[in-house]
Symmetry: C2
Subunit: 335 residues, 2 copies
């Protein structure tokens, strides 16, 4: 099934069930008012939401209305956890290669993750408000999952069973704030402003064969200022699958219902052509494009985002239909 959260002036919005084709929606009132509430008691809420979803798909839901992504908050407008991985090691390799740094051997066996802020997410069509353009504004197109309860020391397989929903994320990054911040040794903070999520979160069964072994085998499309810049394969090159990422968190603590876990920038390896490496699938963040340019030409030529720039992030199924709806944001200054 597909779930979304409609803006209603409250902090958590209103849970709606959305039809498979994203054409219609129906309030889930009476089952669960908010998505967190459904996740807190998934065994009870999910079957009822599924029934409503089937009625909606069959055109039989009594109070259906046209679904409008612009009225959406993030599916979880605030969450108790946002833990983001860097699960495509190719992304790490590119960025490090551009600055002549080695990738430590352990990075191939031990996932890289950071704890992000989760108190104030952006809806799919909300502006990305950044105080200064020269912070180096970048998008990061990612796949993410929302979990149920997963206990401390869960294995990757057990963790996979704890995945309730999948969605897309734009993990906005302020690139020029990252080097001084990471140099302090405590990880990201000011360099990671509010993250945005796709209009719709979907249960794994919606993805059919494309969801395999904790990886989503579909193409993540990124369109910057109307120009398609990324058509990246999210499946085969994901070094650590979502079960492994969740199990990484579970090494020393429980993961509780409503935790969101991200894949990190989706990234594909380059291909050799006429003695030069090329990246025909493009990129899911500008930092990677700049790393590629540095490797190819000695220096980056693509600038970061400017006020007024737009970013669209979307993923289509094998039938060509949008699965999660599109993240469509504009970069804006405060006020």
């Amino acid at each position: 099934m597909k779930l979304a959260t409609y803006k209603d002036g409250s902090r958590d919005g209103q849970l709606v069930v959305v039809s498979r084709d994203l054409a219609t929606a129906h309030y889930a009132t009476g089952i669960a008012a908010r998505l967190q509430q459904a996740l807190d008691d998934w065994g009870f809420a999910a079957p009822q939401l599924q029934d409503l979803y089937e009625s909606l798909n069959g055109g039989k839901a009594r109070h259906a209305f046209p679904f409008e992504p612009r009225r959406c908050m993030a599916p979880l407008p605030r969450a108790y956890q946002w833990a983001d991985g860097s699960a495509y090691i190719n992304h790490v390799e590119l960025v490090r290669r551009a600055r002549n740094a080695e990738v430590p051997e352990s990075f191939y066996t031990d996932p890289l993750m950071y704890q992000g802020g989760s108190d104030d997410f952006l809806g799919p069509c909300d502006d990305v408000v950044v105080p200064k353009e020269d912070y180096g504004i970048d998008f990061e197109a990612e796949v993410a999952v929302i979990t149920g309860d997963v206990p401390m020391q869960a294995t990757p397989d057990q963790a996979l069973d704890g995945i309730r929903l999948l969605l897309l994320a734009n993990d906005v990054s302020l690139r020029n704030l990252i080097p001084p911040e990471l140099a302090k040794g405590f990880g990201f903070f000011q360099s990671k402003p509010a993250t945005a999520f796709s209009p719709v979160a979907v249960t794994p069964d919606e993805l059919g064969d494309a969801w395999q072994g904790g990886r989503l085998h579909l193409t993540l499309q990124s369109t910057w200022n109307g120009r398609r810049v990324g058509m990246c394969e999210a499946g085969p090159e994901m070094t650590f699958h979502f079960g492994q990422l969740i199990a990484h968190i579970c090494k020393t603590r429980n993961v509780r219902a409503g935790s969101i876990v991200g894949s990190g920038t989706v990234s594909n390896k380059g291909v050799e052509k006429d003695g030069r490496t090329d990246w025909p699938k493009g990129y899911s963040c500008i930092a990677e494009k700049r790393a590629i340019e540095t490797i190819q030409d000695g220096k980056p030529s693509t600038g970061f985002m400017r006020f007024g720039d737009t970013i669209r992030i979307e993923m289509k199924g094998k039938d060509g239909q949008s699965i999660f709806g599109a993240i469509e944001q504009k970069i804006a200054q405060p006020g």
Copy 2:
């Protein structure tokens, strides 16, 4: 006023108002069922909670009952943000001096903070469950605040106005997991298991003169296995006050109601005596004691915590009464 959350089998527990002397309590049912709910609508809920608090203190609340800290969850059993500072630069200086590392000049003007997990906090008397003793189990006694909404780019003074409640924290750390984790560059993750909080959170007015300029001028007591190891002054040596810590987060994002912001390990400078530096006020985490031993004797002699060890963290007012109740935890293995 003083607020706590009683265990009731649910994820968020039941909000209770606690008398100033911590002797009695009263359910806040009818005003707000959960603390997050009160924080979401503080202007509406706070005056009603205050009325109940005054009735309780006057012995006039109709359904008061004896307050039992063992029945408490963390005041916020889960939160949308847990951002922990390292606001006592003396702590950073000690730890770095022990390994012959410099403190960068910027650390005196730019707060060090990390984003912690906030989906699964421990109550004040809950066991600290750690899979392995050799992870290097340590307590960290801290002061923390819970905020209302503070907008992006708020100044430190504006951020101070956003503080709703104060409480104590035990930011449990797994010391032997820290060096390899920080070496990866993305900050703490597995080295920071669930944090515990004091039974009670209090509004700033409860602290009188002791709450000044965003610092709490009282003594934080840490008692390890029944032995008083820390009597650290939390006020004068706090390099960055809570308004500065919150404003640090607000540089690039909004801070939303119910965010918890921690001070980091409370730490006091040593005093010179007979040509040797001594730390008569003790320590608020074992890592600091080990750093002191290394500086004094060339190597640490105090080991980390073992299964079965206990830690008690408490702060008393000028009248000798416990303000927040005590964190009293035991270290335990899973199962």
